[in-house]
């Protein structure tokens, strides 16, 4: 009898199966790449090609998938793709090409899927422009330069617009522009109003920019709030911030042992989208380094001082005992006790108090305070 039940005929649709936006942040610091090449043999052009194949693989997953590439350069963060509207889109190499070379290019183009081709051409051309505009002086001036927080900020704002704004991408001359219109017109939207899922991949070769700790962490928390996982592929120089970023946002953190095989790491570890991630066990770091950088001298600390009001971190008591973030006057007189056996002093005091005046107050307060673990 129970077979004659109408309810089982209802085939409710699965939750909206949204496409994914992959934002890739690549370090383009030439010095760092040179050092990596010397140590492991992976040069930037090789790495870029592999990253582009990775991006193609992402685009191959679904027609609606999109990708963006941001360069984390010495002096700032730049979009490599999509190119910001109104910027110069000419390829500096194209002008010098002979007709034969041009013909060869068009021949080569014919063997590529057009979405991949447009994307690759754009990334490569913007990269050449970026390098052309970089002078040797800038590189020498800040050899470890990195604009991680800027790049992260660009990525998040872009994600916010594409995935939550609903208005689609940039207006003109961008590959995939057509699709963005479609997305806003007839695309699916899930409960939270997002039209696409997003994830960020950071391919990093530079050391942590300690002076950007606060802004980077703010970016990480914003990503956490948008539920955007930040994946980190650290090719050189172990990092504290990015470990925390991956850990906080539920992303993948990997330090490839063999950077030359970058592609396989990318394909295996970083490619799965949100749907696949829900059913896969992903490589994450268990022993995340949670150290923070101080706000005053930007040093990474094991132990430091924390403002009791705003939780700002300092490596030494701030000047004039005023917190530089919230302007609270701090009581530093107790700090002198630090280093001495801390346990002894309060114990003595407490004993005195308890024996002197209110013997049952301690008991009463303990009973009054709500027990969080109850039930």
């Amino acid at each position: 009898m129970d077979k004659v039940d109408g309810t089982e005929h209802y085939n409710f649709k699965q939750a909206a199966d949204l496409a994914t936006l992959q934002v890739i942040i690549i370090d383009t610091n030439p010095i760092a790449w040179q050092l990596l090449k010397q140590s492991s043999g992976l040069s930037f052009p090789d790495a870029l090609s592999q990253i582009l194949i990775f991006a193609n693989a992402h685009l191959a997953f679904s027609q609606a998938n999109r990708a963006a590439v941001i360069a984390n350069h010495i002096d700032g963060a730049h979009f490599l793709s999509p190119v910001p509207p109104g910027s110069d889109t000419a390829d500096p190499d194209e002008a010098n090409m002979t007709p034969e070379q041009q013909k060869e290019t068009s021949q080569r183009n014919a063997s590529k899927y057009r979405v991949f081709r447009l994307f690759e051409d754009e990334v490569r051309a913007s990269y050449r422009r970026l390098i052309k505009s970089t002078t040797a002086e800038t590189v020498d001036a800040i050899p470890n330069g990195s604009a991680l927080s800027g790049a992260l900020g660009l990525a998040l704002t872009y994600i916010n617009r594409i995935c939550f704004g609903g208005t689609g991408g940039r207006s003109s001359g961008v590959p995939g522009d057509e699709k963005s219109k479609v997305n806003s017109a007839g695309g699916k939207v899930d409960d939270t109003g997002r039209t696409m899922h997003a994830k960020i991949l950071i391919v990093s070769v530079t050391p942590d920019p300690a002076n950007q700790y606060i802004s980077v962490m703010n970016g990480v928390f914003a990503a956490q709030k948008l539920t955007v996982p930040i994946d980190v592929c650290k090719l050189r120089e172990s990092t504290v911030f990015l470990q925390q970023a991956a850990d906080a946002t539920g992303g993948v953190y990997m330090e490839p042992e063999h950077p030359k095989g970058l592609l396989q790491y990318l394909m295996m570890g970083f490619l799965p989208d949100h749907l696949a991630r829900s059913s896969l066990i992903l490589p994450t770091r268990v022993d995340v380094d949670f150290r923070a950088a101080c706000f005053c001298h930007k040093k990474v600390l094991d132990i430091g001082f924390v403002c009791s009001i705003c939780l700002s971190i300092f490596c030494e008591p701030p000047d004039g005992a005023v917190c530089s973030t919230c302007d609270t006057k701090l009581d530093v007189s107790m700090l002198e006790n630090i280093g001495k056996p801390v346990v002894a002093l309060p114990k003595k005091k407490k004993k005195k108090k308890v024996t002197d005046s209110l013997p049952e107050s301690g008991v009463a307060s303990a009973a009054d305070s709500p027990a969080p673990t109850e039930g």
Binding site: R114, R117, G186, M267, S279
Partner: protein, 498 residues
Amino acid sequence: MSAQTMKGFEQLEGLPEAVFKRLYQQPATALAIFRRMLPNLAKTFVMAMLFNPDPVPISNLEHWVHPDKNSLKEEAFAKLRQLYLVTEKQGTFALDPTFKNELRKALTGGGLPGSFGLPCDTDDKNKVDVAFLDKYATEQWESILHFMVGNEIPSFKRPSEGVVRLLLHGKLMEQSRMSSDPVITQVGFSFLLQEANSQVWTLLLLYLDMAEQVKEMNTNLWKLDLIIIICASQLRMDPVDILHFLFLLGSLELGQDYDMKNLTPTQKGMLEDLRDYGVVYQRKVCNAFEFLTRWISLITLKSSSRRFYPTRLATALTSEIRSIRSPAASLQNATSQGDGNGFLIIETNYRLYAYTSSPLQIAVLNIFAKLISRFPNLVTARITRDSIRQAISKGITAEQIIDYMTVNAHPQLRKNSPVLPPTVVDQIRLWQIEGERMKTTPGYLFKEFSTTSEFNAVCRYANDLGVLVWADHNKGNLFVSKHEQIADYIRKRAHAGR
């Protein structure tokens, strides 16, 4: 709508292994199959294996997946095996070498020139723009649909004989005794309710089917023109060639002209037919002596224009389900029917208002709703039990009707969430269920187990396999859809017990 689209691809899944192996020989096809025919997890597995030089142990992949998502994993594995994408050897998976190679080529762009279409290197004297292509595609396609519902509109010309033959072949229309023109069948009605992209696929797969049949039955001359048979047997329409071309079309660029010189004779022949469907545009070669010239041109393998333009119908071919609505929407945008893509308003009282004057859309509405009145730009109708039951008796499902209404919902209605009033949606489903009080499942009954523990063990095993349909624990009976493994299991248990 997804079910409809997938139906088209299920047809492909049944192809023999040899055909698949040959299909994988083109990067465009490999990419399209990867994109369209694999579930998400299977795609992830393929990508993980793609640049791995060695076969991957199956246990590695199994450990990669969360233990509670086993069913998804099994589905992915099953699909990979079914499409002959992996070969198993001593507990390892290896991607089919051809597929691996071609998909790599697709991703890295290392294929031969022209593997994703060969653009013309000279300028076209009569260059056409995207708007023209959209208009052309819409006109061609709509003329087919209008022809199906029996609307003779002066602005739309009658589709060519090839199209009519195809519709007849697919039983979308049948020759009626009353008039010389064929009339639409029930299959045809449910075809009309599909979306543009699924419709294109349905028709193209029918085309494939017909091409194969033509090859097989040279002696069976009924319904088919002599000339076509001569052409086909000369051309040896190869299904793999046809599919390659269809997948290739899906990866071409809208508004770009392509050179025909890389195409095989089969594909050149196909171009002529695809032009009739509005899938590609090619400058006119046909005239009153269509068949004659076509025949001649095929034999001499020369066509008057050596370039062709894919239309939006073509470039949307390999896009997957979620973006399917887009080509249809953009097509409708391109035509002058109303603004945006929606024209239907459904109220909770089952009244339906359609802002349209298109005879085609009105005809489709008439399939499942009772039309009440008609104004220059508006049709009012009512959804009733009778109208829905009538549609269902024609083989149209409630889902199809609901999907159609959702896709064509007016922008005003689209602001609601859910788009359609739930009462109406539920009621339509209930009306469908009315006729489905019983469900039959062929299978096997196991009874008279010697002990309860044995019964329970078998029951659990059957459940794990997913073949258990029904079990009665009091009587000790269970009903399964497949018996081979169960029988084996019982035999093994009996053996072990002894």
